[in-house]
């Protein structure tokens, strides 16, 4: 009688994905696939200079081109109080430049025309007269006493400082350092990079004059958040704004912020009373939308001879570009940087963080990470390897000595977070066994005799995922809960909607699995919809690995509400009191007579056809979930590499990932997320970075300069799992989408540095390009900072 949970596609089933049915046919519905009657097309004129005063903008040439409908400049926007908009980090950002341009690629004007070719032609015909100003391209220049003030638009801004923030206990940390046998130091840089989904950003604004309703199709990871932001900027009431996020061609944090061209397309649609479509080109995406990282660290670790870490100091300097538009909801200025060292038992820690403006693209998005957690864990694991080396201790053993033990939960982290569960030692053991640790160390020594450089790198970390509890997290004041609405029809088939928004994670598949787990309704009988603010319940969207921890929990909770009502219906149908009714998956039965039962589908039918007297008809409900804590998955990543001393090229020999993300809803999808994350980690370590020349020209403005790994370079991965259920999540799940991007880079870098250990080189900053590795080997010195821009002589 019992329903087989795996057969109905419940929890733990590697159910094949529902959304694939359209994607494999080319029938996905991405933003550029949408075409509305009478739709016009918008293109953006961007600044070629990083810092310049705008003397004049001549748009006459654009209007001379047939098919051009409207040219929008900062002046036009200013007349409607739209030239500037608030950012998610309580700064302001120019929509279209009025006074100055502050980074290369900044939006200066927009053209709306009958087709995109005409709009692009017209952009070329606009003449902007610039007076160049000195460009500031790194934080060191920003903090110089005589540096030009980038944000002279702000009344009280007399320098280029964005924030100066600290956390932890300086005095107790000083005491810990005074007691140390050894202090290990490490200066590191996490280079600027870009999430770069293959699909760029875009919007289609459609203002209906007769109803006064604005519909915006938007590449949005957070449709309700964007509705709130657009209501604020456009001063429209939110019930008259409908955001529709169609299929997204990847997001990785890039589609969280509100971008200027979204706002301009909305204004254009209101002025022209026609739909206006803007599809960003790749260069626009890479040079103007939210970047990730760009943080420098001075790290210190106080160590005891026996290997115990007594205390940690972290001093970060971050470069935020021209506008402080970090897309992050925490109350902490540098995001969750202070989640560093959460997996280690360290009594004292102190962190200072200083943020600076520069003439670079604004942003600071959480690129496949939970708000600066990627930097935190990279710094942590590089410092850990440096400390192990300084102590002359085996890197695995050093971790084992300091990792939080299974019976130490709940555990207060060095900076005050509360972790709740994990089996860190077990994950490390599985990883070491899978990679063949002892064997590899022997092989490495053997290879050395033949002049070959082998190395092994470990990265262990727990990270905070699933923002977040309403005490410490909000965006524009809105708490970071999420939501689900479930409608079970009379047939027992159901419609589920959530406030999250899949961009490849497979929510249409996995949310149905949670409902199947809670109610026993086969997953194939549950349709999942997301992305339309007129139909989806209010939620804060998908980023920071928060979907499963927050929206996924809401799905569970709404299904339980449905089950509670179904129990009453079952009692009515079985003619017993509710207390005598028992539940097994998919079915209620009479406790004393288990053969007498009704299925959940029969209860659903009764909800519409045969409810008891006094009961409200229907079987629908919603749930809003405010998580009590973040979820803390753990990961152990181990890479082995061989470095070619003749070229500096390094190859991955073996990559092992052990992930503990609690209960896995769909193991196939979890593994897909991990492999994708490992590839981005490999990309960061190996090739992927954005830099700038002295004039602020972005190097990395297209896929010829911004290198992403292909199938050819990307190594294979070996995955292992440990399951420690999350104690506060309804189904014991933890976040997973970003673990590998967060923890992975240090494993690769540690492996290369391990291979180079005998050269005395302690650090090469990412990316470990062959010429940088070669320089380190031959010159026997560290290679630090952003790779220089090499121009042909």
């Amino acid at each position: 009688m019992t329903v087989d949970e795996i057969k109905i596609g419940g929890l733990g089933a590697s159910r094949r994905r529902v959304e694939d049915n359209r994607f494999i046919r080319g029938a996905g519905n991405y933003i550029d696939d949408i075409s509305l009657p009478g739709m016009l097309h918008m293109e953006v004129v961007r600044s070629p200079l990083a810092h310049a005063r705008i003397k004049s903008i001549d748009v006459r040439g654009a209007y001379a081109i047939p098919g051009v409908r409207l040219v929008l400049t900062g002046e036009l926007l200013a007349s409607r109080n739209l030239a500037w908009m608030p950012t998610l980090s309580y700064d302001t950002q120019a929509v279209l430049a009025t006074d100055k341009v502050r980074f290369q690629g900044q939006e200066v004007a927009c053209v709306v025309a009958d087709d995109p070719y005409i709009a692009k032609d017209a952009c070329e015909a606009i003449i902007v007269d610039y007076e160049p100003l000195p460009a500031i391209v790194n934080a060191e220049q920003s903090m110089a006493a005589d540096a030009p003030i980038i944000r002279d638009d702000k009344e009280n801004q007399h320098d280029n400082v964005v924030f100066d923030w600290e956390v932890g206990d300086k005095e107790s940390t000083d005491r810990a350092f005074a007691q140390a046998d050894l202090v290990s130091e490490m200066d590191l840089h996490y280079p600027r990079s870009h999430p770069s989904p293959i699909e760029t950003c875009g919007s289609i604004a459609d203002y209906d004059r007769s109803t006064k309703k604005l519909t915006v199709y938007l590449t949005s990871q957070a449709p309700h958040l964007h509705r709130a932001a657009i209501a604020l900027v456009a001063e429209l009431p939110e019930h008259m704004i409908r955001i529709v996020a169609p299929d997204l061609g990847g997001g990785f944090g890039n589609k969280v912020p509100v971008y200027p061209a979204y706002v301009v397309s909305i204004l254009a649609s209101i002025l022209l009373e026609r739909p206006v479509k803007w599809i960003e080109d790749k260069t626009g995406n890479l040079i103007s939308t939210g970047f990730g990282r760009d943080v420098y660290l001075k790290g210190q670790m106080a160590l005891r001879k026996d290997g115990r870490i007594l205390g940690v100091r972290m001093h970060t300097v971050s470069d935020h570009g021209a506008f402080f538009s970090d897309a992050q909801p925490s109350k902490f200025k540098i995001g969750l940087m202070h989640s560093a060292f959460a997996c280690y038992d360290i009594p004292d820690a102190h962190l200072t963080a200083r943020g600076f403006y520069s003439n670079k693209a604004p942003g600071g998005v959480a690129y496949r990470c939970s708000f600066r957690v990627t930097e935190a864990m990279f710094f942590q694991e590089r410092m850990v390897q440096g400390a192990a080396d300084d102590l002359g201790m085996d890197q695995a053993e050093f971790r084992r000595v300091n990792l939080v033990r299974d019976d130490d939960f709940p555990h207060r982290t060095p900076f005050g977070f509360l972790t709740d569960s994990g089996q860190y030692g077990k994950c490390l053991d599985i990883g070491l066994e899978a990679v063949g640790y002892e064997d590899f160390l022997r092989q490495k020594e053997e290879a050395k005799k033949n002049g070959r450089l082998l190395g092994i790198g470990i990265s262990t970390m727990t990270e905070p995922l699933g923002a977040g509890n309403s005490r410490e997290y909000d965006i524009l004041g809105v708490k970071m809960f999420d939501s689900a609405e479930l409608r079970v029809h009379a047939s027992g088939k159901a419609l589920l909607r959530t406030g999250a928004k899949s961009q490849g994670q497979g929510h249409e598949t996995t949310w149905a699995q949670i409902v199947a787990h809670e109610l026993g309704i086969p997953a194939e009988d549950i349709l999942v919809e997301e992305g339309d603010t007129d139909t989806a319940p209010f939620g804060m969207g998908t980023y920071a690995s928060r979907s499963t921890p927050v929206a996924g929990a809401a799905v569970s909770m709404v299904a339980r509400k449905i089950r509670a009502k179904a129990r009453k219906l079952a009692a009515h149908l079985l003619e017993v009191s509710e207390e005598d009714v028992e539940w097994e998956l998919g079915r209620f039965f009479v406790r004393s007579s288990p053969d007498r039962g009704v299925t959940i589908q029969e209860c659903a039918t009764a909800a519409y056809t045969n409810m008891p007297d006094g009961m409200e008809p229907g079987l629908e409900n919603n749930a809003y979930y405010d998580p009590p804590n973040l979820t803390w998955p753990f990961a152990c990543y181990i890479a082995t590499v061989e470095v070619d001393p003749q070229t500096g090229v390094w190859d991955v020999l073996h990559m092992v990932a052990v992930d503990d993300c609690g209960v896995r809803i769909n193991p196939m999808i979890v593994e897909g997320q991990i492999m994708g994350g490992l590839t981005e980690a490999y990309a960061m370590a190996n090739m992927q970075f954005i830099t700038f020349d002295d004039e602020g020209n972005c190097i990395g403005s297209n896929y010829m300069d911004y290198l992403l790994p292909t199938a050819w370079e990307t190594p294979g991965f070996e995955l292992h799992e440990v399951v420690t259920p999350c104690p506060h999540h309804p189904i014991g799940a933890k976040g997973i989408g970003e673990c590998a991007t967060v923890g992975g880079p240090a494993a690769f870098v540690n492996a290369v540095m391990d291979a180079l250990k005998d050269t005395g080189v302690r650090n090469i900053d990412m990316p470990l390009l062959p010429d940088r590795v070669y320089e380190a080997i031959t010159e026997r010195h560290d290679v630090s900072g952003v790779p220089p821009v090499r121009t042909d002589p």
Binding site: R16, R17, E19, D20, N21, R22, F23, I24, R25, G26, A27, G28, Y30, D32, D33, S35, D114, D115, Y117, S196, P197, I198, E199, T200, D247, L248, G249, G250, G251, F252, D281, K282, T283, Q503, G504, Q505, G506, M668, I669, E671, G672, M675, G676, G677, L678, T679, E680, N702, Y703, M704, L708, T710, A711, W712, T714, G716, F717
Partner: protein
């Protein structure tokens, strides 16, 4: 409305220089008037409403716009529509028949070879070209054949497995005499 492309109607005229081209798309002959500068990707997407061909990067790097041009994979964002005059184009919409999916499509679903789905059409068409030339590729051969198509979601491992899955299925579907011939070659 637009001068860039238009299905031909008798007596139409335009001041913009246009070229009339005839191309076979997914087995169907299409005659259209296009501006000489119109890209093939845009003709397919906006002109012929075949939106399964995606444009990702504009610089021939990402491969999302890959179509088969007389059977060979090309990046349609870097070809002019006029170059397709007199040629055959296969897009993702032409991969499945009305009755069934192509084994490559089945393979991508079965082996979880896609996540956001944006690179998938181009990826599958590159795979089709490979498998027609080499029905039994090694993993390295698959990786090399797909190295012109970028994916940000999957890490490629499952894409490679998907293509190998499809290769195995296609080989098992090959007519008996052909399969026997292959077997005898191997032995």
């Amino acid at each position: 409305m637009t001068s860039l492309f238009a299905e031909v109607s008798p007596g139409s005229s335009s001041e913009v220089p246009i070229r009339r081209i005839t191309t076979v798309v997914n087995g169907e002959q299409r005659t259209v008037d296009v501006e000489p500068r119109l890209l093939l990707a845009h003709l397919l997407r906006q002109g012929l409403k075949l939106t399964g061909t995606h444009t990702g990067c504009d610089t021939t790097n990402c491969g999302a716009c890959t179509v088969l041009f007389d059977g060979a994979p090309v990046k349609s964002c870097t070809m002019l529509a006029v170059q397709a005059d007199g040629h055959e184009v296969l897009t993702i919409e032409g991969l499945a028949t009305a009755q069934e999916l192509h084994p490559i499509q089945e393979g991508f679903k079965d082996e979880h070879g896609l996540q956001c789905g944006f690179c998938t059409p181009g990826m599958m068409l590159s795979a089709k070209a490979l498998l027609e030339e080499n029905p039994d590729p090694t993993e390295d051969e698959v990786r090399w054949a797909l190295s012109g198509n970028l994916c940000r979601c999957t890490g490629y491992q499952n894409i490679v497995k998907s293509v190998l899955w499809a290769a195995a299925k296609l080989r098992s579907q090959a007519p008996p005499d052909q399969a026997e011939a292959e077997n005898s070659e191997e032995s």
